[in-house]
């Protein structure tokens, strides 16, 4: 009996060896890292069909260029080159010593924004409420500049701004300028939309990757804004200003604006970024971000490559030389 009892702790120690049960860590050799990266994108990226990308062919092209004698920088360069084929600003490879980006969505287009002109001629004497810079143009037009959806504003801050504009008796409209806004948290857009929605409003539909196949997606989910009635609302006209650097959450914001008849979009097409970024870690400590969903407007338009303005306007060089923002002037004239 004693022997049996003494055996029990040893039996437990034997059981308690998770190393026998858990899979071993994958190799961090360049070939394995490359394969994991390619496979992660293959299983998770959402826009292969939309962008007509043959990912298997990409593998056939790049895999022979990878070997286990490569340095980290050589491997990174090849991986980053492969990822640029996706033409997606939400795709980043992060290696610590550097990060790969795709910025062609705005670098290949005119900027249509000059912050100096805004600061000197449109925001002079501005008020700042949280991340919202605002001023009154011509005594009867509200102007808000919001530079990043990564800087959240609160309901109280929005109340303060809207109360300021609502107090102007002859207010013609509000210009909401999101040019050069690279995104952040879409919740800030929803906070604004709730103040102008008069009924539950469908902004867009989103389907998420839910399996490894290129066409494995969840059911489409509707993003619906419910109006708020217990906070300060705004019922007048709104002009939203956009450019190519308006990306990700900013792109979602401009896309959502399309659902409200009182909002008109001026400027350039947005830069895009219509997939929700998701991440995965590679065996050598690098990580990769990529789009894992597809969002469409109620009419079926996919917003990945940007949202078109209602009134395309470019910043003219002549106006710029005079300190005039052509796009703001077009928005002012529309009220």
């Amino acid at each position: 009996m004693k022997k049996i009892f003494l055996l029990i702790p040893f039996l437990f120690l034997f059981i308690s060896c998770e190393k026998l049960i858990m899979p071993k860590s994958e190799s961090a050799d360049p070939v394995k890292v490359f394969d994991t990266l390619w496979q992660t994108i293959d299983r998770g990226y959402s826009f292969f069909d939309y962008k007509h990308i043959d990912w298997n062919a990409v593998y056939q092209t790049y895999r022979p260029q990878i070997n286990d004698n490569m340095t980290d920088r050589e491997l990174f360069a090849k991986c980053a080159e492969m990822l640029r084929i996706l033409k997606d600003g939400h795709v980043n490879l992060r290696a610590g010593f550097t990060t790969s980006y795709y910025f062609d969505f705005y670098l290949n287009y005119p900027p249509n924004f000059n912050k100096e002109i805004i600061d000197r001629n449109y925001l002079r004497g501005f008020e700042v409420t949280g991340p919202l810079y605002h001023s009154v143009l011509n005594g009867n037009i509200g102007y808000i500049y919001y530079e990043s959806f990564a800087r959240p504003f609160t309901d109280d801050q929005l109340d303060a701004v809207l109360a300021r504009f609502n107090a102007i008796s002859n207010l013609k409209g509000i210009i909401f300028d999101v040019r050069d806004n690279g995104g952040g948290d879409p919740a800030n857009a929803y906070r604004f939309f709730k103040r102008i929605a008069t009924q539950p409003t469908l902004l867009y539909r989103t389907k998420y990757k839910n399996g490894a196949g290129h066409n494995e997606f969840s059911e489409e989910q509707e993003s619906i804004i419910e109006p708020v009635t217990d906070k300060i609302r705004y019922a007048g006209k709104i002009a939203v200003l956009a450019n190519r650097k308006c990306y990700s959450a900013c792109n979602f914001f401009v896309a959502g604006c399309k659902a409200f008849p009182q909002i008109k979009i001026f400027g350039d097409q947005t830069g895009g970024g219509g997939g929700q970024p998701t991440g995965f870690e590679l065996p050598n400590s690098w990580s990769v971000n990529f789009s894992g969903s597809i969002t469409t407007l109620p009419n079926g338009f996919i917003i990945e490559n940007g949202v078109l303005p209602d009134f395309p306007v470019s910043l003219s060089a002549a106006d710029e030389a005079l300190g005039i923002d052509t796009i703001i002037e077009a928005a002012k004239a529309s009220f």
Binding site: T36, F97, L203, Q276, P283, S285, W286
Partner: protein
């Protein structure tokens, strides 16, 4: 963290030993009840396919609170065990720290009945175990995919062997126990660990339960083993040294393997 743990453990041990008496007091009450307060060191291993294909490990503090009730025929215990760990890998570096912070909350209720008197020194128990586990993990390097969780609510079989041991002129108790969940309600993150930020009505908790499933060994394998040594103190209080191993595998769209080694010292206050 280790220093704090060692200091607290030492203080607890010294206080307990200084106050000890030479033997158990006999009681007429056949039911013994204890409050248990415990401090331990949790050493965790993780292989989570929703993070990467790399093993993570780390250790941290593991306090616990519990209630124990035992009679000649039954043994019941309830424990609340939160543990807080930061897991990493041997491939982590300053430029790319591979870290996963875990907050693991465990509620466990074990109900056992003495099944047969083996002999004067050995008692055998068998019964059921109810276990609720929520292991929230945060891997900041994954940005929008950084929040992960392992959730389970399970019912299973449990057993325990007690053996009386004479140690330092005291009647001590050495125990080994085993818990095997048979049926469980489990949940893991959705594919790509998505949280639906795009949805204005994003409901993280609601999504968690929508993504749950009732399952058994086919998707959820878990083994919890324990070894303990109870040393009697003054006034029917007990000092308990324990070691437990808790391993589970959840086979979902991204499988996870997790193991925890917990070494603890507990003070059982009789009431």
């Amino acid at each position: 963290m280790k220093k704090v743990f060692l200091l607290c453990s030492s203080i607890g041990l010294v206080i307990s030993l200084m106050a000890q008496e030479s033997s158990f007091r006999r009681t007429n009450n056949p039911v013994m009840r204890y409050w248990a307060i415990s401090l331990g060191n949790s050493s965790q291993w993780m292989y989570d396919e929703a993070v990467s294909f790399v093993r993570y490990k780390g250790s941290g503090m593991a306090p616990a609170l519990g209630l124990i009730k035992e009679s000649d025929r039954k043994y019941r215990e309830f424990f609340f065990k939160p543990t807080f760990n930061t897991l990493s890998t041997d491939r982590s570096n300053e430029l790319r720290p591979m870290e996963v912070k875990t907050t693991r909350i465990l509620l466990d209720y074990m109900y056992l009945v003495k099944i047969r008197p083996w002999n004067d020194k050995i008692k055998l128990y068998a019964g059921a175990d109810f276990n609720w586990l929520f292991n929230l993990k945060r891997a900041e390097q994954l940005d929008n995919s950084q929040l992960l969780y392992d959730y389970s609510l399970s019912i299973g079989a449990a057993g325990k062997i007690d053996r009386s041991v004479r140690f330092k002129n005291r009647n001590c108790l050495a125990s080994a126990d085993l818990r095997l969940p048979l049926v469980a309600h489990i949940a893991r993150p959705q594919y790509l660990n998505r949280i639906e930020f795009i949805d204005p009505k994003n409901d993280f908790v609601g999504d968690l339960f929508r993504n749950s499933t009732l399952t058994s060994f086919n998707k959820y394998i878990r083994v919890i083993t324990g070894l303990s040594f109870n040393y009697p103190l003054f006034n029917k209080n007990v000092l308990k040294l324990g070691y437990s191993w808790d391993f589970y595998k959840m086979r979902t769209i991204n499988s996870v393997y997790s193991a925890e080694h917990l070494v603890s010292i507990s003070f059982l206050s009789n009431y």
